[in-house]
């Protein structure tokens, strides 16, 4: 066990990466799924162990092949990384567990091993980003996860996924290229790719203009990958047409991992070395965050398809995460990181409920779902709990990050009240678009079709409710996300007040 402990930081990548090719060979029905789920669960356990270490307050570093940094490849897991690893592996595991029936429904048996292999590659790639302490390795893992996630999105039976995934691919590639240009510039000026090392060497660079340009490229490139408004256009269709299980997985974590790189780069590398960078960062991202919250919520209000509606809501939620970060204060950053966790819980529950609905309803248009609560009372119950968390009703996880976010805004005094107004307005729009669904599914009579109870498969429903109840648990006792988020925020802000 001690050997395992020492190698813990590298395992989240190694395990799924090694299993992924093997999964392709598991032809017998259900075996590939079992292998993928087991692998994912193992990654989840590893993430928990890493999170436990991060809670103790130590950054866990690992030198690959025992080559010391900055020459060797270094891995490191701090509170922020551990928080996102938890979200990532948790989302993957629960999505696989809940999604078995949905995958069987949407994918032919012989294509499942390929699909699940790609799933594990996404998991490995995203985990790799979170544990890398090296700018170029991050790029490599980003490409691995992106290429595999195009397969996930396109893997479903819906042919409309093709144009969606093409858009996703083009924009994702542009984003990755921008990032590559950025780190190229940084490498040119500093001669190193290790993040900690860049931070040290950058102080000796006399001409900061290329670094500034690099910061611009990296911020915009990652903003694209993270679907920051107005660079979000790839997201709604990609989420909407992907297989339901993949949507649960990707919606909970994919964009957040991009935000992780964005924040790590901007705060750890650039913030303390570029003069006035925090102003540039805040002045650039805060308006986008505000616009994202308002515009995407407004679109969600009028979106007739509930899966697409939730996708737009995700764009708005990215706005909240960014808003907290762009305040450049401890409270704001804590709120931002907490919201990553809380939003993953809330959206996870909601998309799982949608997956349950899709098992029984051919269409996810709101009008077609009239009376759904009578046919699937438990599913809609979970949907309501997830929705309350998304809105930020006290007693749910979503409330805790809203509380931090409002407190952080108020710290600004006068102008902060405008931000409070934005947060409140966004929450109220969330009330409206969630309640629209509740009203139609609970009170409108279905025009045709059976009205007797026919719930989703037992396993799917159980996991959905597990996530819904996790929203309540982490709303009443948010120790985990608060402590990890605060540790992460302290790390990001470094010496800054």
């Amino acid at each position: 066990m001690t050997i395992l402990d020492a190698h813990l930081p590298v395992l989240p990548v190694v395990v799924p990466m090694l299993i992924a090719p093997l999964v392709i060979m598991l032809r017998p029905r259900g075996l590939a799924w079992a292998a993928a789920t087991a692998t994912s669960s193992m990654a989840f356990l590893i993430a928990m162990a890493l999170a436990a270490g991060a809670l103790d307050g130590e950054a866990q570093r690992y030198a690959l092949g025992a080559w010391a940094a900055p020459y060797g490849i270094e891995l490191s897991v701090d509170s922020f990384g551990a928080l996102l690893l938890l979200i990532l592996t948790g989302a993957s595991t629960l999505a696989l567990l809940a999604g078995k029936a949905s995958l069987d429904q949407q994918l032919e048996a012989d294509r499942q091993p390929l699909f699940l292999s790609a799933w594990l590659l996404v998991l490995a790639g995203l985990s790799g980003i979170l544990i890398s302490a090296d700018a170029f390795n991050i790029f490599v893992f980003m490409e691995i996860s992106s290429l595999a996630s195009y397969i996930l999105v396109a893997g479903g039976p819906d042919r409309r996924a093709m144009p969606a995934v093409f858009k996703y691919l083009i924009m994702g590639t542009i984003g990755a290229t921008f990032y590559l240009i950025g780190i190229g510039l940084v490498y040119m000026m500093t001669g190193t790719l290790n993040l900690t090392d860049i931070q040290v060497r950058i102080q000796d660079v006399s001409d900061l203009r290329p670094i500034l340009v690099a910061a611009g490229f990296i911020t915009v490139g990652l903003g694209l990958k993270a679907a920051v408004f107005p660079l979000h256009v790839w997201l709604p269709n990609a989420y909407n047409f992907a297989p339901h299980a993949a949507t649960v997985f990707l919606a909970a974590c994919a964009t957040k991992v991009s935000l992780y790189i964005l924040l790590s780069f901007d705060f750890v590398v650039f913030q303390q070395n570029l003069i006035g960078h925090e102003m540039q960062f805040a002045a650039f991202l805060m308006p986008l965050a505000v616009l994202g919250i308002l515009a995407a919520s407004a679109v969600a209000l009028f979106e007739p398809n509930i899966k697409r509606m939730l996708a737009f809501s995700s764009v708005a939620q990215i706005g909240y995460i960014l808003l907290g970060a762009s305040m450049v204060s401890l409270l704001g950053m804590t709120a931002s990181l907490m919201h990553m966790f809380n939003h993953a819980l809330a959206k996870g529950a909601l998309f799982m409920a949608v997956m349950c609905l899709a098992m029984r309803f051919p269409s996810l248009e709101l009008d077609a779902l009239a009376g759904a609560a009578k046919r699937m009372p438990w599913t809609m119950g979970a949907f309501v709990v997830g929705g309350l968390s998304l809105i930020g009703i006290p007693g749910t996880a979503g409330f805790t990050s809203k509380w931090y976010l409002i407190t952080a805004s108020m710290e600004f005094g006068g102008a902060g009240w405008l931000l409070v107004a934005v947060i409140v307005l966004g929450s109220l729009m969330a009330v409206a678009y969630i309640w629209r669904v509740v009203e139609v599914t609970c009170f409108r009579q279905p025009e045709t079709g059976p009205v007797e109870v026919s719930e989703a498969p037992r396993l799917m429903l159980t996991v959905t409710w597990l996530v819904a109840l996790a929203n309540v648990y982490f709303g009443l006792s948010p120790w985990l996300q608060t402590r990890l988020a605060e540790g992460g925020a302290r790390m990001l802000l470094g010496e800054m007040p």
Binding site: I406, F443, P478
Partner: protein, 495 residues
């Protein structure tokens, strides 16, 4: 059993009861009703067992968990919350008896859901009443909003759903947009949100900001229906009458004024607020609401809507009295919560009994109904007299204290408002009473009816009796609530 356990029991009993009611509902309606009644009896036993401690001046408290640093789920029993909890739990029993008569008499659908959500609402009410800080209060306040939504939308037809949307929309909008920022603001400047005698805000906030924060609280607690946040109350009248009676005359609306009173007494502090000129607007807002609601009530043709507007006016009596910021007026505000609860629940019971027996809902149909339903209309008359404030009814007692408080503060706006609104109350209630007893019965042949089912009549007789009894027997309550101001206001000089 320690007081701490009792507090937690008061929260758990209705929740466990809700689960049992739900299970029993699958077996038989009779078992379900038995579960409701025994849960409410148990809740009374639990809540009322706290009374001796509070009279003795103790303030039992319990902290459940710390949610965020400095922000915990905590409970503390003090006179105001004790009174609210005792009132709501006591009337729940009466209301449950009434519900059985009403729901069966009208053959309503989804009765199990109705009783389950009712119990959950009561749990939320207990949480509000016993909350020890603003955060906990807010938690249960939202829970009450959400758990009453299915009760309001009970019928489920499009018109009802539309009204329920107004209900939820106004309450959620106000609580998220106004109440939540107010609470966060309070925590930010004062560093705590614990309800503390004498308040916590003195020295942390000054000038016009006091008035602004007060406004966020008062309008944020939209359940108190201070205009323009009153729209939800008439909309909520689409609910079955027992819901209107207990929730929209007692639990929900009183939760609103309760928040305002708690905030003024324990967060701002009465003396601090009295010295702040920017808080003066509240008196005028409440006065305006009283007069405007009474004028609108004059024009109503539907009995339940009339009662809704009367409730809006009566709630603002409590706000007005609280805003007078003098000891006697605070006591008046507290006991008006009780007096109005007895009177208004009687009126709603009567309205529901009339509907159950005869399907009559409009004022124009009530001619001569007193002869067909003498018990119901006697109770209605008593309730109406209490609304006007005529002795020997409970409404007179609280009005007396409020007037005394107004004299204490030399506040002539309050005096004039009360006098004018008493006249208006009389103007819309007395004609109904007159027509009911002395009008010519125009019930078409074949639609003859007598009294409502026995359970309903029994319940309204009990509350009418309470309305009368409160006039003669109110000393313990006044003593209890005097503790409130003795703790909060420097010196017991006025009492």
């Amino acid at each position: 059993m320690s007081a701490q356990t009792t507090i937690l029991l008061a929260l758990c009993v209705p929740l466990i009861g809700a689960a049992l009611i739900g299970l029993a509902g699958r077996v038989s309606p009779n078992l379900r009703e038995a579960a409701t009644l025994s849960t409410s009896l148990l809740l009374i036993a639990v809540v009322w067992s706290l009374l001796p401690d509070i009279f003795a001046g103790l303030r039992p408290a319990v902290t459940l968990s710390e949610v965020l640093p400095g922000i915990s789920i905590a409970f503390q029993v003090e006179p105001l919350g004790m009174m609210f909890a005792a009132l709501a739990s006591g009337l729940w029993l009466v209301n449950s008896i009434y519900s059985i008569g009403y729901m069966r008499g009208n053959r309503e659908q989804h009765q199990t859901r109705f009783y389950v959500m009712f119990a959950v609402s009561l749990a939320a009410t207990m949480g509000i009443a016993l909350a020890g800080n603003l955060f906990t209060l807010f938690l249960f306040y939202e829970m009450l909003t959400l758990s009453t939504y299915p009760l309001v939308a009970h019928k489920g037809d499009p018109a009802t759903v539309r009204s329920a949307r107004v209900y939820l929309g106004v309450l959620i909008f106000a609580s998220i947009a106004l109440l939540l920022p107010a609470i966060v603001w309070t925590y930010l400047v004062a560093g705590t949100g614990d309800f503390t005698p004498g308040g916590i805000l003195a020295g942390h906030i000054d000038g016009p900001l006091i008035g602004l924060l007060l406004a966020l609280f008062v309008f944020g607690a939209a359940k108190a229906a201070v205009m323009p946040m009153h729209r939800w109350l008439p909309s909520a009248m689409v609910a079955p009458t027992p819901v209107s009676a207990l929730l929209h005359a007692v639990a929900v609306v009183k939760a609103g004024v309760f928040v305002i009173m708690k905030v003024i007494v324990y967060i701002f502090g009465v003396d601090f607020l009295f010295a702040a000129p920017s808080s003066g607007w509240l008196t005028f807002a409440a006065a305006f609401t009283i007069i405007a609601a009474s004028l609108v009530a004059l024009r109503q043709q539907n009995l339940k809507r009339l009662l809704a507007y009367s409730t809006i006016g009566q709630l603002s009596y409590i706000v007005l009295a609280t805003a007078t910021l003098k000891p006697l007026a605070e006591v008046g505000a507290a006991i008006h919560m009780v007096a109005h609860a007895f009177g208004k629940i009687t009126l709603f019971f009567a309205a529901g009994a009339i509907y159950t027996a005869s399907k009559k809902t409009e004022l124009g149909q009530l001619h001569g109904i007193g002869r067909r339903m003498p018990v119901t209309m006697t109770a209605f008359t008593i309730g109406a007299l209490s609304m006007i404030g005529v002795p020997p009814t409970g409404g007179f007692v609280s009005k007396w204290f409020i007037l005394a408080g107004a004299f204490q503060a030399d506040n002539y706006v309050v005096l004039a408002t009360i006098i004018l609104s008493t006249a208006l109350n009389a103007a819309y209630f007395l004609p109904i009473i007159y027509l009911a007893w002395f009008g010519r019965d125009r019930t078409p042949p074949g639609k003859e009816h007598g009294e409502a089912p026995f359970a309903a009549v029994l319940a309204l007789a009990v509350t009418a009796f309470l309305t009368l009894a409160f006039f003669f027997f109110n000393q313990p309550l006044i003593e209890l609530e005097s503790q409130l101001v003795r703790g909060a206001v420097a010196g017991p000089e006025a009492l």
